[in-house]
């Protein structure tokens, strides 16, 4: 490529990368603005519901539903005049706007849709339902349109963007004139700076979102403190706390009212002090949004590095012959679907499990932390898993259970050898099918059939109920697994037997070997790789048993946990106890165990046979 070409390419790459990065950053910022709008709209709805009385009634008759309209009108109008309030607010009674009477009304459909979705973004405003005082019926809506905040022309302000721009120009020039020194490093540095700048912008937007909510909520709380209806002369903290979600209200000291960041019990919190009466201060605390923007840094840096990546790809394409370029492109084309699948369904979950294992994540909402918050706990999950006696019980059960595998492998081998003698004839085919059928049948169906067989007094496998007796439950599961798996293993052995050339067995017969000798000296050693395969996959499969346990015993009989196996324990920890972190830790330990097990088996039995 000529220097002109390179300059054009470098510039184009830089422009595309910058545009993509900026777009993503803007999108992230608008998300935070929306998040703020929804949050403050919900608070406003709660505030309106709290401060507006029901329609007046005669003494003694029950209160009417809904709100007293003149009062609602007053409260709504008052919101517009709240000094320092950063948003435009509109309250709808039914579909009619109350604050700005000339604004278009909502459609009935808008109100109906609140039944299925909590809130919705509509014409640049967050629209949330206004419910009656009991919180049952939707009687109207609250819309909040955040006023746009002033924003600089470049991401992260001049401090980052200017050096980035300068570096980019320099690097583009260097690329064009093929100066090695600046070519890649400079361009990458420019991309890095740009990415960091964009991230700083997003983080600032997140911070702003929290601050605006704190500020506006503070004003609402102060207003509520004066308006909340008597009989009490002093407003109760609980009444105020009921207005806010995802935040705490605690008694506080006199302090500056502007939002600030503090560390409480080792966690970062955004706080604002609120004066709710003469000398009465409270502190409004919430989780700062910017604490969870780390993910955006990765996304934005990746976007920013599209530029250097494009340059690298161009340089590679220039150096590589056309044919190879084509082949590489085609190879990536073919790899992409499988790679994407692998990344989404294997690598992604694995990384997520790794992440979960070192965090505490309980399904419920334990504190003001939003549900997505999972504090880092290090190796505590692992320690807890190892300390839990049930872990060891389930490990013992799993190990005992897997003992069925060698037995089933032996039976499968014997059956396969017997059947391979007589390849012809329908009798053999029927037998082969009969053995294979349970293996291909639905696991749950098989389990349910056996449930019937093992029940006391049904099909007569003894008089005792196998599955509810702690001494026989695991044994019953082993028997059932043996029955289900022999067929599959037999088929693999049959295939292995067919691969052994008849000449070896003929030679052995002429050499004077008896049937037993032929089996033990020739067939069995030649089947070694097959046996190894069947054994390893069988034991690894046995360690992963879940369905039979889940369908038949749920780990019981209790309290002995006689059939609680490892995978079932992981399942119970995750979905029973809602401890996803602990469950992830346990499954990683399980993975480690399987790895060790497989390696040990391969090492022990692993001399492969070469068929010469």
């Amino acid at each position: 490529m000529s220097w002109r070409g390179w300059a054009a390419a470098a510039t184009a790459a830089a422009v595309v990368a910058a545009t993509v990065t900026l777009s993503v950053a803007r999108w992230a910022e608008s998300r935070y603005e929306r998040a703020f709008a929804f949050r403050i709209a919900a608070t406003t709805a709660a505030y309106v519901a709290a401060v507006t009385p029901s329609p007046p009634t005669r003494r003694g008759s029950p209160p009417l539903p809904g709100y007293y309209l003149p009062q609602l009108l007053t409260q709504a109008r008052a919101l517009r005049t709240l000094p320092g309030w950063t948003s435009e607010v509109e309250v709808y009674h039914g579909t009619a706007p109350l604050v700005d009477a000339t604004a278009p009304p909502l459609s009935p459909d808008d109100l109906e849709r609140f039944e299925s979705e909590g809130g919705r973004w509509r014409d640049g405003a967050a629209l949330v339902p206004l419910k009656d005082r009991e919180g049952r019926e939707v009687v109207g809506a609250v819309a909040v349109r955040p006023r746009p905040m002033p924003r600089g022309p470049l991401p992260g302000g001049i401090g980052f963007a200017l050096p980035a721009a300068l570096l980019a120009v320099g690097a583009a020039a260097a690329i064009a004139f093929r100066q090695r020194s600046l070519r890649r490093g400079g361009y990458a540095a420019a991309a890095l700076l740009f990415g960091v700048a964009a991230y700083a912008d997003v983080r600032a937007a997140a911070q702003r979102s929290t601050d605006r909510w704190l500020n506006d909520t503070r004003l609402l709380l102060q207003e509520a403190a004066t308006r909340l209806p008597a009989p009490r002369s002093r407003v109760a903290m609980a009444d105020l706390a009921a207005l806010i979600r995802d935040a705490e209200l605690v008694p506080g000291e006199p302090a500056e009212s502007a939002p600030r960041r503090v560390r409480i019990d080792g966690k970062r919190r955004a706080v604002a002090s609120v004066l709710i009466g003469p000398g009465r201060w409270v502190e409004l605390r919430t989780v700062p949004e910017e604490a969870y923007t780390t993910g955006w840094s990765a996304v934005l840096l990746a976007c920013a590095f599209l530029g250097p990546f494009a340059i690298l790809a161009l340089r590679w394409a220039e150096r590589t012959p056309r044919r190879q370029r084509r082949e590489t492109a085609i190879a990536w084309g073919f790899l992409a679907p499988a790679g994407l699948h692998l990344a989404i369904f294997s690598l992604g979950p694995l990384l997520f499990a790794l992440y979960l294992a070192v965090h505490r994540w309980t399904g419920g909402r334990a504190s003001i932390d939003p549900p997505a918050v999972r504090p880092l706990v290090g190796l505590a999950n692992f320690a807890a898993a190892l300390r839990d006696p049930l872990t060891w019980v389930s490990l013992r059960n799993t190990a005992l259970y897997s003992l069925y595998v060698p037995i089933s492998v032996a039976i499968a081998l014997a059956v396969a050898v017997a059947l391979s003698r007589y390849r012809r004839g329908w009798g053999v085919r029927v037998l082969r099918t009969a053995f294979l059928l349970p293996y291909v049948a639905s696991v749950v169906a098989v389990a349910l059939v056996w449930q019937r067989i093992l029940q006391a007094g049904s099909l007569g496998l003894g008089r005792s109920d196998w599955l509810s007796n702690p001494n026989t439950a695991l044994l019953a599961l082993m028997l059932l697994s043996l029955w289900a798996h022999v067929g599959g293993q037999m088929v693999v052995f049959l295939a292995g037997l067919q691969r052994i050339p008849q000449a070896y067995l003929d030679a052995a017969r002429i050499d004077g070997a008896s049937g037993w000798q032929r089996f033990w000296r020739i067939t069995f050693p030649l089947l070694r790789p097959v046996t190894l395969f069947v054994l390893v996959t069988g034991i690894v499969g046995a360690f992963q048993v879940f369905t039979y346990v889940y369908v038949l015993t749920r780990g019981g009989p209790f309290p002995q946990y006689s059939t609680d196996v490892l995978v079932h324990r992981i399942y119970q920890t995750a979905w029973g106890s809602q401890e996803f972190g602990a469950a992830s830790a346990l499954s990683l330990l399980f993975l480690l165990l399987l790895l060790v097990l497989t390696l040990a088996q391969l090492r022990l039995l692993g001399r492969q046979v070469e068929h010469a």
């Binding site: 012809r424 050339p501 000449a503 070896y504 003929d506 030679a507 052995a508 017969r509 002429i510 050499d511």
Partner: protein, 354 residues
Amino acid sequence: MASVALRRLSKVFDGGTRALHHLSLDVRDGELLVLLGPSGSGKTTVLRCIAGLEEPTSGDVLIGDRLVTHTPPAERDVAMVFQNHALYPHLSVRENIAFPLEMRGVAHAQIARRVVETAERLGLGDVLDCRPAQLSEGQRQRAALARAVVRGPQAFLFDEPLSSLDAKLRSELRAELLALHRSLSATMIYVTHDQTEAMTMGQRIGILHEGRLRQVGTPAEVYERPADVFVARFMGSPGMNVLQGRGRGTEAGRVIEVGSLVVPVELSTYEGELQLGIRPEHVGLCAAGKGVGNADVLIVEPLGSETLVHLNAGGQGLVARLHGFVDVRVGTRVGVKVDRRRLYLFDAAGAPLA
């Protein structure tokens, strides 16, 4: 060592394929007999019946004077070398050679001694502890031979043991096998589809075709006095030219008209349809009109020491084998000469006319 005899042996496989048909054969004690035939002629089936790997449908197998038709292979005391050597891949060469002795319960000390002895004899001393996969193709075949020899059996059976080797190795091993046969003076039955192997190795050759034994005799006998048209065509490379003709009496004497040729014969007793056989080396070329007739040259194959000329004599194919390089052009017409003393006459069914 013992003789091997087959008495009216027949074998019909489960699918109805008739592999052998009333086959009788006597292999003398200490003889090397080669069974030769195209693929599918039943050679291997004969061997497997002798070894006991197949049970004949009818007829008998005798080893020595013992009737072994229904005796299991282990008790027949024969050794067999397979086409792909069939060395047990999971055992070392030493273990492979020891295997038949172990199976027969020979004492350990004796096994060790005999294995080393046999291996030395076949030049395998250095590779005794290798696996078959680590050996060269020639070494593998020697190891298979050693496994057969070590036991000192009544008879050896070879099932195309050299067919997977390259030409050079094949001729080397052929010589070794012959040496082995001489030193052991063992009874050997050797199956092959390669007539060079058969001619060079066999004391006698049995020629099989479609499950029937067509001829048994020394190499010279089967080459020079073929029992029928099949043997005549099969032996030799290229095989004998067999032309469809008609015997007729003329003023000049008796002749056979085959295509464009008119060959004078000394036969006086036959007229009508018959087949005339001439080996390619007994066909010569001369100027057109000078010989027994004219033919068109189709293909010329110069091979160095000789040249094969494929001819079309009035619709009948004919090959001439000539010494050295010959200046014949494809598409020209030439005269054909035949050596009248070396003509073979067969009747229409393929049986020789005396």
